[in-house]
């Protein structure tokens, strides 16, 4: 049985602060959702996760980019780096870092759902046979990824696991379970190609995408729901889960 071994103090250092847990749901209509999955080396299996989460084998990193042309927070694009894991019996992904192109939207997402983020440039663009995403911080590219040769899938063929966001909450340092729903209108899958990646900029230099697995692009109404559960980051979910 494997548990995360990441140092909690280090993880907590730049975790966002949430003043309250009672937030309203937020609908992001017609969002473009790019998800690219890569395997990481086994050496990164446990060290990226807090002790309350369990790694998958192989360890999997997913890059998730949302481009929301219209939303109650205004237009924004958000890129997330998540590491696949389990919280008890449940499939989850741990958010190690995110970049958003709108500071106000980022502040709202951090305060309401614990999105650890920085403000930078996030681009997601579509050509006929390629979807590209690029992320830059302070003018330096930290991610360049592409989905090539997309093929149609059914709306239910793509799966998005819920996220665990480490945040300082009124109850202390907690893993905040964020489980958006995706009403997918159309989805496609293609080959993943990564041309630039800086693990340190996404939260840990040991994040190393080495083997491309899949890339999908979808158009969906994304709903960030009210928070339901928190988990202690130092206890496994069977002991550390708390209702909101």
């Amino acid at each position: 049985m494997l548990f995360g071994t990441a140092d909690l103090e280090t993880l907590a250092a730049d975790a966002p602060r949430m003043e309250q847990l009672d937030t309203e749901a937020l609908v992001l209509p017609g969002a473009a959702v790019l998800q690219v999955a890569f395997e990481m080396p086994a050496s990164a299996r446990e060290c990226l996760l807090p002790a309350g989460l369990h790694p998958t084998d192989p360890p999997l990193a997913s890059i998730v980019v949302w481009r929301c042309a219209e939303s109650p927070l205004g237009a924004f694009a958000l890129a997330q780096l998540r590491v696949s894991c389990r919280s008890g019996l449940r499939p989850r992904a741990f958010l190690t870092g995110a970049v958003i192109d709108d500071a106000a939207a980022g502040q709202a997402l951090a305060a309401r759902w614990g999105f650890r983020h920085r403000v930078g440039r996030v681009e997601l663009s579509r050509q006929y046979d390629t979807v590209t995403a690029a992320v830059a911080l302070d003018g330096r590219t930290i991610l360049a990824v592409a989905l090539r040769d997309p093929d149609p899938l059914g709306p239910h063929d793509v799966q998005y696991t819920a996220s665990m966001h480490l945040a300082h909450t009124p109850r202390g340092l907690r893993l905040v379970q964020v489980d958006p729903t995706f009403a997918v209108e159309r989805a496609e899958r293609g080959r993943a190609a990564l041309t630039a990646f800086d693990g340190a900029a996404w939260g840990d230099a040991r994040i190393a995408p080495v083997h491309p697995v899949s890339a999908s692009i979808a158009r969906a109404d994304v709903t960030l729901p009210r928070l339901r559960y928190l988990c202690r980051p130092d206890l496994w979910a069977f002991e550390g889960t708390e209702g909101v």
């Binding site: 049985m1 494997l2 084998d57 696949s84 019996l89 899938l153 899958r189 899949s214």
Partner: protein, 361 residues
């Protein structure tokens, strides 16, 4: 009603010297006892790379050892993964025939296509192709076993005419099964006239629906062979003890750990969006699964063979009533139950539960 043992060969961390050997030897001891007690079949899965959960990557060799150490129990090679990167169909046919010979005609052959990204990704298999290759395998295996010479021009493999040797002892060939984790695969089994080897724990209502539909559909099947295997087997967990409280505590510990390791697998669908894998393929009862009767204070999921003999008789009678022909039991998980207790559980089951169902047969 027939009863079997079902082995994943799970190995707990830490992976100390000798731990894998100990698990294999304990499992073989369980098989020898099961043979003596009158269990009908021992099944062993094929899994690759699944640390702790299953170290059973060469089941045909484990099953050969089972066959050599027993005299009566049938050996279930189930399920062999039917994708070329893992097993060429000719090798599947050859190995199965040899196992049938050395076991004296005791082989049952299960087929599958693997459900985790850990395994498919490890062999660089395109998940979109596995249903196609599985379908081709189940159609060619009977031909390979029964035709003097065999040639094929197919989707996943082609070959010029050759004599595939040896031929199995059973005529026309060993019974064929397909493992059923995803809902709907039971219909694939029915359409091809092969047995339904359930490996996902389902509640009574769901299993009854699937079994009824399987039996209805197989009436009009286009069999892949000259014989139809129309049996339905299900997966279960077994811990039998005279004291219901002890049974529940020990059995639920096993079930909980198995569920945990099962949930920690990486299903293909989680890593690779595809139409080919519509469900996550979990073997354990899902969290929040139907629980036992409202009066069951121990939270044992319905139909699970954990308890004192009376409770297990009741559960199996219900399975029997909905048309299940065989139940295969997981009797330990990551060595959570000491070997002596596993053996005692098997003995008690054979003494107090099994005879009730043998009489009916």
């Amino acid at each position: 009603m027939q009863f079997g043992l079902f082995f994943e060969l799970s190995v707990p961390r830490p992976f100390t010297d000798g731990i894998e050997r100990a698990v294999y030897e304990r499992s073989l001891e369980q098989v020898r006892l099961a043979d003596a007690l009158g269990f009908d079949t021992v099944w062993a899965v094929e899994h690759h790379f699944l640390e702790e959960y299953s170290h059973c990557s060469a089941p045909e060799i484990f099953l050969t050892a089972c066959a050599m150490q027993t005299t009566r129990i049938r050996v279930g090679h189930g399920a062999v993964v039917c994708v070329p990167a893992m097993n060429h169909p000719v090798r599947v046919a050859e190995r199965a025939a040899v196992l049938d010979i050395v076991s004296g005609g005791r082989l049952e052959l299960g087929t599958a296509r693997s459900s985790t990204w850990t395994e498919l990704g490890g062999f660089m298999v395109d998940p979109d192709t596995t249903k196609k290759t599985w379908d081709e395998y189940v159609r060619v295996l009977p031909k390979m076993w029964t035709q003097e010479r065999f040639a094929w021009d197919g989707v996943s493999f082609s070959m010029p005419e050759r004599s595939i040797l040896p031929k199995p002892v059973q005529r026309p060939h060993p019974p064929l099964w397909v493992t059923v984790t995803s809902p709907g695969t039971e219909l694939d089994a029915a359409d091809r006239g092969i047995g339904c080897l359930g490996v996902a724990a389902a509640g009574f209502a769901e299993q009854e629906r699937r079994t009824r539909e399987y039996h209805r559909r197989i009436q009009g099947c286009e069999p892949v062979s000259s014989v139809v295997n129309d049996r339905v087997a299900t997966l279960n967990f077994l811990y039998c003890h005279e004291d219901a409280r002890v049974a529940a505590a020990t059995g639920m510990r096993m079930l909980g750990l198995f569920s945990f390791f099962n949930a920690n697998l990486l299903p293909t669908r989680e890593a690779f969006p595809t139409r080919a894998y519509q469900s996550l393929g979990a073997l354990a009862p899902p969290p929040g699964a139907e629980r036992g009767s409202p009066g069951d204070p121990r939270g044992i999921p319905e139909g699970i063979a954990i308890g004192d003999p009376a409770r297990i008789v009741e559960a199996i009678a219900r399975w029997e009533s909905i048309g299940v022909d065989a139940i295969n039991f997981i009797v330990n998980a990551v060595e959570t139950i000491p070997q002596a207790e596993v053996l005692a559980s098997l003995r008690l089951f054979a003494a107090e539960v099994m005879p009730r169902f043998r009489k009916r047969a």
